[in-house]
């Protein structure tokens, strides 16, 4: 089975995660722009981070047979540094929204639910609308329901089509309104906080698989880069139909993040379409591109 993890912060993960994900069938990941655990203090830090997302990280993933896509945006936490936020919004983001493999504006929205966060969110909704791009909305850890409803109210007020907006990090309290209002509902399977995957099974049993999908949001916290394939297995064990599992773990994320044509099944189904193959006149294996360490006996490292 093939999986997409449509929300994962790979810059914080080691290559062993890429290897394990590829082995479990993850063919593509999407990395939303976020903070790094502490606030950045100048524009250069944002610039280097954005450049890494469209450069090195994309290459690193490709070495393990995983397609890496990303989202560009000013996250809600750092929106509160208003001077720096203005530089990111006015100067930096317009230069990065159209880089190759950028599939959405995200993750944006609310954290503390402040006026500064709202200002940055509104500004980026307008950018996404003008560019015809999908939006990924981060919903707050604290006061989640209010933050979620407010995020949807504002998106509607800006005339953004709900079918192009993913509300992320949902739970039992938020899912119904998100689906009823026509938005995509993403669920983050993240140990100890957000969703557990047994609860996720119950959500799919109750709401089905239309406009619902899951992600790991794995980052520098106690998180699990394999939570999408693990949850798929749990859903199968607990009697969820294969078609629903495919929707929740692959098709729905592809539908909404593939809208702009930057993420296509052909990217992973037809390896010839990988740009670098062209360098080698059709040869199937590019040496130096597959640094995967072959499985060895016991503790031997060659």
């Amino acid at each position: 089975m093939k999986f997409i993890d449509p929300h994962i912060h790979m810059v914080s993960r080691v290559t062993a995660d890429y290897e394990a994900m590829a082995a479990e069938g993850v063919v593509a990941v999407i990395e939303p722009a976020f903070w790094m655990g502490q606030p950045r203090t100048d524009i250069g830090a944002f610039q280097h981070y954005f450049a890494t997302l469209v450069g090195w990280e994309r290459f690193r993933a490709s070495q393990f047979g995983i397609q890496h896509y990303c989202m560009m945006g000013l996250n809600s936490k750092e929106a509160n540094d208003e001077g720096l936020a203005a530089e990111v919004l006015d100067d930096l983001l317009p230069r990065y929204l159209f880089k190759e493999g950028v599939v959405a504006v995200g993750e944006i929205g609310f954290d503390d639910i402040t006026a500064a966060e709202e200002k940055a969110y509104r500004c980026q909704l307008d950018m996404a609308k003008e560019a015809g791009m999908t939006v990924c909305v981060h919903t707050p850890h604290r006061d989640k329901t209010r933050g979620t409803l407010l995020s949807m109210d504002i998106a509607e007020e800006h005339g953004v089509d709900p079918a192009t907006v993913v509300i992320d990090h949902n739970n039992e309290e938020t899912v119904e309104q998100v689906l009823d209002r026509g938005f995509y509902a993403a669920f983050t399977i993240y140990p100890g906080t957000k969703m557990g995957n047994e609860r996720m099974v119950e959500i799919v049993k109750k709401y089905g698989s239309e406009r619902i999908f899951i992600d790991s949001s794995a980052d520098w916290g106690v998180s699990d880069a394999l939570s999408v394939p693990k949850t798929a297995r749990l859903m199968a064990e607990r009697g969820i139909a294969q078609g629903d599992i495919d929707n929740v773990c692959y098709h729905n994320a592809l539908a909404v993040y593939g809208r702009g044509g930057q993420m296509r099944e052909a990217d992973w189904n037809t390896p010839e379409s990988i740009d670098q193959r062209a360098l080698f006149e059709g040869n199937s294996v590019l040496r130096g591109q597959r640094p995967r360490v072959d499985a060895a006996e016991g503790d031997v490292i060659e």
Binding site: F50, V54, W56, F59, R95, E100, D275, Q276, G288
Partner: protein
């Protein structure tokens, strides 16, 4: 470089492959960049090129390859993609009276560049005015660990052999070997062989052998012509380990080296076939690095 004939050639490559609308879009963006120089309009257009032109391999015809090398010595479009050609046109549209202003504009573009944009910049270097002004940029490309970016400067690109100093050029060879790029596509390689490079390659071979790892037989091409003393011993070891592709590579590499008689005597039959030209580098290259 005269940019006008080059731009006309590139425009023909694009218009033979892109839709008329996309070609027209690119033409207009180039005119804008020619007036406005480096800035938001260039960044936007440069980023949008693959969305407009696609990113297929260029797959040039024989005639197009010939036109390229007639336009500029060593120019070889066989690894180019269509989007790279579009981006070359944008870069060649930049105002170029001042060498430092041009290289500064390119540096600025590279700060925000994604993988494809970086590769396009390095493919454009041999076409830019003020060839010497781009040496630092080329050396920076060689430092990249992203294979596609390194390949854009290292393979089928005449710029490094023409412009880089010995230290930087040697890095082109050493880095290419390190990530597994085929050395035979480094333009002008034979003319840039030097003792420091040969020594570095011998050291790296010894190191890899000590670790129980293999080396690329093509590397001897940069050792044999200047080998003496301890380097000849390394070549001897290479034949000892593999009389096949390594043996052939070593014999080809020392063909014009009078100090290597002892090596030729190890396999006089093979040495004779090398001397007559019956066997060449293409016979070494067959295999997984072809």
């Amino acid at each position: 470089m005269q940019t006008a004939p080059t731009s006309a050639f590139l425009e023909r490559l694009v218009s033979a492959r892109a839709t008329p609308e996309a070609s027209q879009w690119l033409h207009e963006r180039c005119e804008e960049v020619a007036t406005a120089g480096v800035g938001a309009r260039l960044f936007m257009a440069f980023g949008m090129v693959p969305r407009r032109l696609g990113k297929a391999a260029l797959s040039p015809t024989e005639a197009e390859c010939e036109a390229a090398s007639a336009l500029r010595v060593g120019l070889d479009p066989r690894l180019w993609t269509v989007d790279q050609v579009g981006r070359m046109m944008l870069l060649l549209s930049l105002p170029s009276d001042e060498p430092q202003a041009l290289s500064g504009a390119i540096d600025r573009l590279c700060q925000d560049a994604d993988l494809g944009e970086l590769a396009a910049v390095y493919r454009t270097l041999p076409l830019l005015p003020h060839q010497q002004a781009h040496r630092a940029r080329a050396a920076e490309g060689v430092r990249s660990n992203m294979t596609g970016v390194l390949a854009a400067i290292a393979l089928r690109n005449p710029y490094p052999a023409e412009q880089l100093d010995e230290g930087a050029f040697n890095q082109v060879v050493l880095k290419s070997l390190f990530v597994g790029l085929p050395l035979r596509h480094i333009v002008g390689l034979d003319g840039r062989v030097n003792t420091a490079l040969a020594q570095a390659l011998c050291n790296s071979a010894s190191e890899r052998w000590a670790a129980g790892r293999e080396v690329d037989p093509m590397m001897w091409r940069c050792v044999g012509p200047v080998a003496d003393g301890a380097m000849l011993e390394v070549l001897d070891r290479a034949i000892e380990r593999d009389a096949g592709r390594h043996g052939l590579s070593v014999l080809l590499s020392v063909r014009d080296n009078p100090a290597a008689d002892a090596i030729r005597e190890r396999d006089p039959g093979l040495a004779a076939r090398v001397r007559t030209g019956e066997l060449g580098w293409e016979d070494v290259a067959t295999g997984d690095d072809a």
